[in-house]
């Protein structure tokens, strides 16, 4: 009796899980599908009322015309360069710094951790001009340095803080044992800490990649030469100053632009699972 009820409950639970997942999927995917649909529509159909979900006369014109609207091939190359170098820096330096915060103490460490969080709080707009003046003094205007160097210097408070949180969950005994065995703190970092938080490393890689792929504020502020622009700047060329938007083309090129990141994510997500095995081993 009791067992049967438990089975019924479990089945209901499973159904509920899938129902929630499907509902969330619909919400997540609906605007995306609308974007895809718009990208394949002719100009006349884009504005039709009532709207059509499946284009009546699908066209690739938005893709071909949109790509030629600005030099998107160059923008893509630039974006790949910036995103990769910045992401590499972010993953390396944020885990390194996070390890320092999570495992070592000094008289100032508490204060510095608060300062670290504090740097996230001040809106970027208000420090923009002094920051710009500083980068100008360094000769960095119209170069990729302002977009890349900060990534190699900790990669932003967000990522450092994330690593702090994950390193803190690892039992201290783990590195103490290794230290007694004669491992240096750097060996503990590379051989124990990093492998254990592999899912986090991967998550930071993906998040950083997406962030740099999408960011348009800093590239637009610091890059002047058009042959240095990134994709996200290029996408702005579909929206005029007076609110008119080339919607079909904008959606088409946005789709092309997000495709690489999406594919990378689809491949990366399966390795998130590895975390379980490793954690299982460790205890």
């Amino acid at each position: 009796m009791h067992a049967r009820r438990a089975i019924v409950f479990r089945r209901m639970g499973r159904v509920a899980v899938y129902l929630i997942l499907i509902a969330a999927t619909l919400v997540c995917i609906f605007p995306f599908l609308w974007m895809v649909s718009t990208a394949f529509k002719t100009m006349a159909e884009v504005y039709r009322i009532p709207p059509t979900f499946i284009p009546r006369k699908p066209t690739l014109e938005n893709f071909s015309k949109g790509w030629g609207y600005a030099d998107f091939t160059t923008f893509t190359k630039n974006t790949i360069f910036v995103a990769l170098t910045a992401t590499l820096g972010t993953v390396l330096s944020s885990s390194f710094v996070g390890y320092g915060f999570a495992r070592f103490r000094s008289r100032l460490s508490g204060l510095l951790e608060t300062v670290l969080l504090g740097t996230m709080i001040l809106p970027v707009q208000i420090t923009l001009i002094p920051q710009y003046l500083l980068f100008h003094k360094l000769g960095w205007i119209d170069t990729y340095w302002p977009l890349i160097v900060p990534s190699w210097l900790g990669g932003g408070a967000f990522n450092i803080f994330l690593f702090i949180q994950f390193f803190k969950t690892l039992p201290k005994e783990l590195d103490e044992a290794a230290t007694i065995d004669g491992a240096s703190s750097f060996q503990v970092y590379t051989q124990i800490m990093l492998p254990t938080v592999r899912p986090v490393l991967l998550a930071v890689t993906v998040m950083s990649l997406v962030y740099h792929w999408r960011d348009f504020f800093l590239p637009l502020v610091y890059l002047n030469s058009m042959n240095k622009y990134t994709i996200s700047i290029g996408l702005q060329f579909f929206q005029s100053a007076y609110g008119n938007v080339r919607i079909g083309m904008m959606m088409a090129v946005s789709l092309l632009a997000l495709l690489p990141v999406l594919v990378i994510f689809a491949f990366a997500q399966r390795y998130f699972i590895q975390g379980i095995k490793l954690s299982g081993l460790k205890s």
């Binding site: 409950f9 899980v17 929630i20 999927t25 919400v27 605007p31 995306f32 609308w34 974007m35 709207p51 710094v97 320092g100 495992r103 070592f104 000094s106 008289r107 608060t114 670290l116 969080l117 740097t119 996230m120 709080i121 809106p123 707009q125 208000i126 420090t127 002094p130 500083l134 900060p150 210097l153 900790g154 450092i160 803080f161 949180q165 994950f166 803190k168 969950t169 039992p171 201290k172 970092y189 938080v197 998550a203 997406v210 996408l235 702005q236 579909f238 929206q239 938007v245 946005s254 997000l258 999406l262 689809a266 997500q269 998130f272 699972i273 975390g275 379980i276 954690s279 460790k282 205890s283």
Partner: protein, 308 residues
């Protein structure tokens, strides 16, 4: 006995201080990239904007020291100062808790052994990847009361949808919904935290006869507190700076219902040319968000469990 105790304490103290010194040295070595970046690239702009708050600097860079005049202006004259803070806090209060709950629940489901796992994970991350000006514009379209698809879908099930962005009562909720749509990062981080919990914990709980829900509340939730804490802090900080969505969708309207602190700061600094006053608004935001962050940090000692 007493003397012995003191001696051992002394000895202990010395041992401790040697370790402390090594610890401190390591701390500075490992945090040095950030410390260097902070001192060289971040500190000066922060100090500079702090100074700006006490001046009447214009966009053209000229200005003089005016003491607390900007603050007097904020509290006495500016008719929108309290409105923008009220709106922003309203946004934070609506967005942050729902973001945490939704991302935790979805991450929980994604951590289970379900079919099409890869598909679901990709789909839930999709909005974050697509987010940007293009999709925000698309949402404005979807929200539209006259021709928007959301109200069309609602009308199919007999619901007369509201004027999402045009009605002051709904506008901020619409902005919150759009923001909730792009919580892919929160989900990933929650997921990484949940995945990190050793499976042996669940196995032994199940042997003790715990059901799934009990496992969630007694194992997953407490052991996820470090990630929940992380999400709480960064989401709160991010929410206080909400700018892009209302800037693109509503321009702060209707009737200032979605006019936020970051927008007010931007307008004053760059559209009205009052850099000094813009800095004052930014630091007002900083003080409130920092106070809340420190409060969360302090409270975390009571509810965040690090050691497994």
């Amino acid at each position: 006995m007493n003397a012995l105790g003191t001696a051992s304490r002394k000895q202990g103290g010395r041992r401790y201080s040697a370790k402390a010194r090594r610890d401190a040295l390591n701390f500075y070595i490992y945090t040095s990239p950030w410390l260097f970046g902070f001192l060289v690239l971040t500190l000066y702009p922060i100090v500079s904007s702090f100074w700006l708050m006490f001046t009447d600097t214009t966009l053209a860079g000229t200005g003089k020291f005016v003491g607390l005049a900007n603050w007097v202006y904020a509290f006495r004259t500016d008719p929108l100062f309290f409105t923008v803070f009220k709106n922003t806090i309203k946004y934070v209060l609506m967005y942050v808790p729902s973001c945490l709950v939704i991302s935790f629940v979805l991450a929980l489901l994604l951590s289970r052994n379900i079919k099409f796992l890869g598909f679901f994970r990709t789909v839930f991350y999709l909005p974050y990847v697509t987010a940007g000006v293009a999709v925000t514009i698309l949402w404005g379209w979807l929200y539209n009361a006259e021709v928007g698809l959301i109200n069309y879908v609602l009308s199919l099930v007999g619901i007369d949808g509201p004027n999402w962005l045009g009605d002051p009562k709904y506008a901020m909720i619409s902005i919150v919904i759009l923001s909730l749509w792009t919580i892919g990062n929160n989900i990933i981080i929650m997921l990484a935290g949940i995945q990190d919990i050793p499976s042996s914990y669940y196995e032994s709980a199940r042997i003790d006869g715990a059901n799934e829900l009990q496992c969630v509340f007694h194992i997953t939730l407490p052991l996820s507190t470090p990630t929940i804490y992380f999400n709480l802090v960064v989401t709160t900080i991010g929410a206080f700076q909400i700018f892009d969505q209302p800037y693109i969708l509503t321009g702060g309207g209707p009737m200032n219902a979605t006019y936020t602190v970051a927008m007010h700061m931007f307008r004053n600094a760059f559209e009205y040319g009052k850099m000094g006053y813009g800095a004052a608004i930014a630091w007002g935001l900083f003080i409130i968000a920092m106070a809340l962050t420190v409060l969360i940090q302090w409270s975390s000692k009571r509810w965040v469990f690090y050691d497994h």
